[in-house]
C-alpha cells in the first residue's frame, strides 16, 4: 500500500507529538507500506511569523530578536524531545540554527526596506514548515526509518506566481515529483516534504494559501499515484455535527468528494474543496484520522459510486460568527439589474457573501456574511444605495447563526425539507431565512444564535445521526 500522510500543526506541536508522529510513520512503513510525509509548521508558528513580518514592515526591529529567539527555543526544545540519537540531534540542530539565522536576516531586510510584498510575505511564512520538516525527518531517522527531507520546491511543486494563493502547474509538478521523489519512494525511502510551500518556475518561494498543507498532500498523492492520502489531525474524522454542540455526534465513516466539499464550512476540521481537486480526478481516497486514536480508521472521502448509500442527511453544522444583512426596497420589484447593483457594490468593496435568499416578490434580499465585516458591509450599502430610489432600507441582525444540513442523498429524496422545518417548528424556533441550491446537497437556514445549538440538536436527533 502506498500512502501520503499529512500531519497538521497540532500533530507536530511539541517534541513529544513529533516523536509520536515518527513512530506512526515508521510503523506503517515497516508493514510493507510506502509512505510519504507532508508536515505543517508547529502549531502557532505560521501565525507568529505572519505577525512578526507585519511588525517588521513597520520598521520595528525590536521584536525581531525576541520572536526569533522564541522560535529557536521552541524548535530546539522539540528537537531534544523528538530525537534521542545525539548525532541526529546535532544534525537537525545545525539545520535549525542555520534556518533561524536566515529568517533573522530576511526579517531585518523587511525591516530596512519597510515593505512586505506578497512575495516576501510568502518567503517569511515559509520558514514555519522549513523548521518543522527537518525535525520530523530527524525523528523518523531516529526510529531507523530511511528518510529524506524536501522543501516543496525541492520536491518539485511548481506553481504560478500568485503569491499567497499560488496554483500549482499540475502536469509539470507531477512530472517533477515523479522524477525527484518517485524513485526514492518506490525504494522505500520516506520522503518528508514541507506542506503549504512551493516555488514558481523561477524558484521563488510561494505558498498555496487556502487548503494549505492538505493541498500539498493531495498534490503529492496524485503525482505519486498513492492508494490513499491520510490527513492526520486531532479529531477522529468528520463528524455528523460539532461534538462540542452535540455530545452524541458520530464519526462519519464515509463521504463522497462532493459531500466533503460541502462540509468545508466545518472549518479547520474538514478539507478545503481546493485541496480535494487533485485527487478527485485521480479518484484517490482521502482518510481523515486522529493521531490521538490511530487505531480508528477515521473518515474516508472517496468517489460517490463507492460510498455505500446511507440516510439522506449526513451531517448538520452550526455556523457562528455570521450576520444577516437585509436590503429592502419596493422599487427593486421587477427592476432588472437591481440585485446586480447590490452584489456589485459588495463585490467591488471586497465583501464576501456566504448565503443569499430572495423571494419572488423581489422586494427584499437577505444575505449572510461574516460578522466581523458587517459594519463595513452595512455602511457601504447605505452610502451607495440609500436615498437613490432603489433601496429604502438596509438592516442587519448580528445575533444569528446558520444551520446547514448536508448529504448527497438529499437530492431527489422527497420530504427532507418538510422534515427539517417541522423539526425546527416543533422546537418552537423561528426560521429567519432559507436557502437551498438546486444541487440539493445542502439546505441552509438562519436562526437566532441562541437557538442554534437547540436546532442542530433537534435535527441531529430527528435524522437519527447519532445512530449511524
Amino acid at each position: 500500500m502506498k500512502t501520503v500522510m499529512k500531519f497538521g500543526g497540532t500533530s507536530v506541536a511539541t517534541g513529544e507529538n513529533i516523536r509520536h508522529v515518527a513512530r506512526l510513520v515508521t510503523q506503517h512503513a515497516k508493514e510493507d507500506c510506502r509512505v510519504a510525509v507532508v508536515v505543517s509548521a508547529l502549531a502557532g508558528v505560521t501565525n507568529s511569523l505572519f505577525e512578526i513580518a507585519c511588525q517588521a514592515k513597520k520598521s520595528d526591529t525590536k521584536h525581531i530578536e525576541t520572536v526569533t529567539q522564541e522560535l529557536r527555543q521552541k524548535h530546539l526544545e522539540a528537537i531534544s524531545t523528538a530525537i534521542k540519537s545525539e548525532s541526529i540531534q546535532k544534525e537537525v540542530t545545525e539545520i535549525t540554527e542555520k534556518t533561524i539565522c536566515e529568517l533573522e536576516k530576511v526579517l531585518t531586510g523587511v525591516c530596512y526596506v519597510g515593505e512586505l510584498t506578497p512575495k516576501s510575505k510568502d518567503y517569511v511564512v515559509s520558514f514555519g514548515e522549513r523548521l518543522s520538516a527537518p525535525i520530523v525527518w530527524g525523528a523518523i531517522k531516529d526510529y531507523e526509518g530511511e528518510t529524506q527531507c524536501f522543501t516543496g520546491k525541492e520536491a518539485g511543486i511548481v506553481t504560478d506566481s500568485n503569491f499567497g494563493e499560488a496554483e500549482p502547474l499540475m502536469n509539470y509538478t507531477t512530472h517533477l515529483i515523479r522524477e525527484r521523489i518517485g524513485p526514492l519512494f518506490e525504494k522505500g525511502v520516506i520522503p518528508v516534504v514541507t506542506g503549504f510551500i512551493a516555488a514558481n518556475q523561477d524558484g521563488i518561494v510561494t505558498t498555496v494559501g487556502r487548503g494549505g498543507s492538505d493541498y500539498t498532500a493531495t498534490i503529492l498523492g496524485a503525482a505519486l499515484e498513492v492508494d490513499e492520502v491520510w490527513i492526520w489531525t486531532d479529531v477522529d474524522g468528520i463528524m455528523t455535527a460539532d461534538p462540542k454542540v452535540i455530545p452524541s455526534a458520530k464519526m462519519l465513516p464515509e463521504l463522497s468528494y462532493q459531500e466533503a466539499a460541502e462540509m468545508a464550512i466545518f472549518g479547520a476540521k474538514a478539507m478545503h474543496p481546493r485541496a480535494l481537486k487533485p485527487i478527485i480526478e485521480a479518484k484517490i481516497p482521502v482518510r481523515i484520522r486522529s493521531t490521538l486514536h490511530p487505531e480508528n480508521p477515521g473518515t474516508i472521502i472517496t468517489d460517490a459510486q463507492s460510498v455505500k448509500s446511507t440516510g439522506a442527511v449526513k451531517a448538520v453544522a452550526l455556523i457562528k460568527d455570521v450576520a444577516m444583512v437585509n436590503v429592502n426596497g419596493a422599487n427593486m420589484v421587477g427592476a432588472p439589474g437591481s440585485y446586480a447593483k447590490v452584489f456589485e457594490v459588495l463585490g467591488k468593496n471586497n465583501i464576501n457573501i456566504m448565503m443569499v435568499s430572495t423571494a419572488v416578490s423581489e422586494a427584499n434580499i437577505s444575505m449572510v456574511i461574516r460578522r466581523n465585516i458587517v459594519g463595513r458591509a452595512l455602511s457601504t450599502l447605505e452610502i451607495a444605495l440609500l436615498g437613490r430610489g432603489l433601496v429604502s432600507e438596509v438592516t442587519s441582525e448580528d445575533d444569528v447563526a446558520v444551520v446547514a444540513v448536508m448529504g448527497a442523498n438529499m437530492k431527489g429524496t422527497l420530504g427532507i425539507a418538510s422534515k427539517i422545518f417541522a423539526t425546527v417548528a416543533n422546537a418552537g424556533i423561528n426560521v429567519r431565512m432559507i436557502a437551498q441550491g438546486s444541487s440539493e446537497l445542502n439546505i441552509s437556514f438562519v436562526v437566532k444564535e441562541k437557538d442554534g445549538a437547540a436546532v442542530v440538536k433537534a435535527i441531529h436527533e430527528e435524522f437519527k445521526l447519532d445512530k449511524i
Binding site: G375, S379, E382, L385, R388
Partner: protein, 344 residues
C-alpha cells in the same frame, strides 16, 4: 456611514446631539444613516464598531473628565487609548476632528488629520489650526490619498459662507472678499460706543458673558479672523497662503474716541478680514453704518464682490456649538453624496 469623533468638547457633544436627533428623518430624506463608531477624548476612547446608540450618546454626555471620563464607560470604554490609535485601528469612513484650536503648530489636530488620510478616511473638521497653518499641504494630501477634507464649520459657524462662495457663485468670478468673521471682537466693538465703555471694560464684560475666552488674544489680536481669511483665500480664491501671509492688526488699540469720530461721519469701526487684489488683511476699518456688512453684536457677515452678480452679503451667527455641529452634518452629507457616486 461610520464616523470617528475626535474631540469631545462643546462642538463634539453638539455633533453627537445633532446626529442622534431625528435620525430616521435623515435616513428618509437624505438616505443618510450616520453612526458614531468611536469617540476619542484626551484620556481615552469609547468604541462600538456597530455604532453608539442615541441612548448611549446621551449617557456619555453626562460624564465629565477628568474624574468621570467617557473612557470609563463599562460597555465600550478604552481608557488611555490615544486618538491616533483610534483613527488607525477603528474601521470608519469619516473622521470628525473637533479638538481645540492651536495656531502654534496645529497639534494634535494636524496629526489626527494626516493619520486619517493615510488610513483612507475622509475628514470633517471645525478646527482652524491645521487649515490656517497648512491648508495647501492638507488639500494636496487629501487629494493624493483620494479622500475628502471638509471644514465648513471653520468659517461662519452654521452660516454656509464657504459653500455659498464655492457652489452658489460657481461660474462667477469672485474678485474680493470682506467680512466680519469674529463674534467676540464684533461684540466688543458694538458694546464700546453703545454703552460708552473702554475696550478693556467691554472685554471684561464679554468674558463675563462667555463671549470671550479668559485668554482672549486669539480673538482680539485678530488671529481667529486671520485663520478664516486663510481658509477663504485657499478654498474660494485658490490662493495658496497660510497664516504667516496675512497682514494682521487686532482691536486692542481701538479707542472710544476713534469710534466717536467715525460715528460723526455715519460710520463705525469693525474688525474686517479681507482678500483684495491678492492681499490678505485683518485690521479694524471704518465702514458706513448702512453697509449691509455692518452687523452688530456677535453676528458675522461676509460680502463677496463678484464680476457678474455684484455684491452678495451673507449674515448669520458665526459660532456656537449647535451651529458649528450643523456645519459638520452638512459636510458629512456632502461626503456621503460624493461617496455614493464612487461606490457604485
Amino acid at each position: 456611514m461610520r464616523i470617528i469623533l475626535v474631540g469631545y468638547g462643546v462642538v463634539g457633544k453638539g455633533v453627537t446631539t445633532i446626529i442622534a436627533r431625528r435620525y430616521l428623518e435623515k435616513v428618509k430624506d437624505y438616505g443618510f444613516s450616520p453612526k458614531i463608531v468611536a469617540i476619542a477624548d484626551i484620556d481615552g476612547a469609547v468604541i462600538n464598531p456597530r455604532g453608539l446608540s442615541p441612548e448611549k450618546l446621551e449617557e456619555l454626555k453626562q460624564r465629565r473628565a477628568p474624574t468621570n471620563p467617557i473612557s470609563a464607560d463599562p460597555d465600550f470604554g478604552h481608557p488611555g487609548m490615544s486618538a491616533l490609535d483610534v483613527i488607525e485601528s477603528v474601521e470608519a469612513e469619516v473622521v470628525v476632528e473637533v479638538t481645540p484650536v492651536n495656531i502654534k503648530n496645529a497639534e494634535p489636530a494636524l496629526s489626527h488629520i494626516t493619520k486619517a488620510f493615510k488610513t483612507g478616511k475622509h475628514v470633517v473638521t471645525t478646527n482652524k489650526g491645521p487649515l490656517a497653518l497648512a491648508m495647501p499641504a492638507l488639500t494636496e494630501l487629501a487629494e493624493y490619498n483620494n479622500v475628502y477634507l471638509r471644514f465648513s464649520g471653520t468659517v461662519g459657524g452654521g452660516t454656509p459662507m464657504l459653500e455659498f462662495a464655492k457652489r452658489c457663485l460657481a461660474g462667477d468670478k469672485i474678485l474680493g472678499i470682506r467680512g466680519i468673521l469674529n463674534g467676540t471682537t464684533n461684540y466688543i466693538l458694538t458694546e464700546m460706543p453703545q454703552n460708552r465703555v473702554t475696550f478693556q471694560e467691554a472685554l471684561t464684560n464679554a468674558q463675563k458673558l462667555g463671549y470671550a475666552e479668559r485668554e482672549p488674544s486669539m480673538d482680539i489680536d485678530g488671529f481667529d479672523t486671520a485663520c478664516k481669511v486663510v481658509i477663504l483665500a485657499n478654498w474660494v480664491m485658490n490662493q495658496k497662503i497660510t497664516l504667516r501671509d496675512v497682514d494682521r492688526t487686532g482691536i486692542r488699540d481701538v479707542s472710544l474716541q476713534e469710534l466717536d469720530e467715525a460715528a460723526k461721519k455715519g460710520n463705525t469701526i469693525k474688525l474686517i478680514g479681507s482678500i483684495e487684489n491678492g492681499k490678505a488683511t485683518v485690521k479694524p476699518m471704518e465702514i458706513p453704518k448702512n453697509n449691509p456688512l455692518c452687523v452688530s453684536g456677535v453676528l458675522n457677515a461676509i460680502t463677496f464682490f463678484t464680476e457678474y452678480a455684484g455684491e452678495e452679503t451673507l449674515i448669520g451667527r458665526g459660532a456656537g456649538s449647535m451651529e458649528t455641529a450643523s456645519a459638520v452634518l452638512r459636510d458629512l452629507l456632502d461626503i456621503r453624496h460624493k461617496l455614493a457616486n464612487r461606490l457604485t
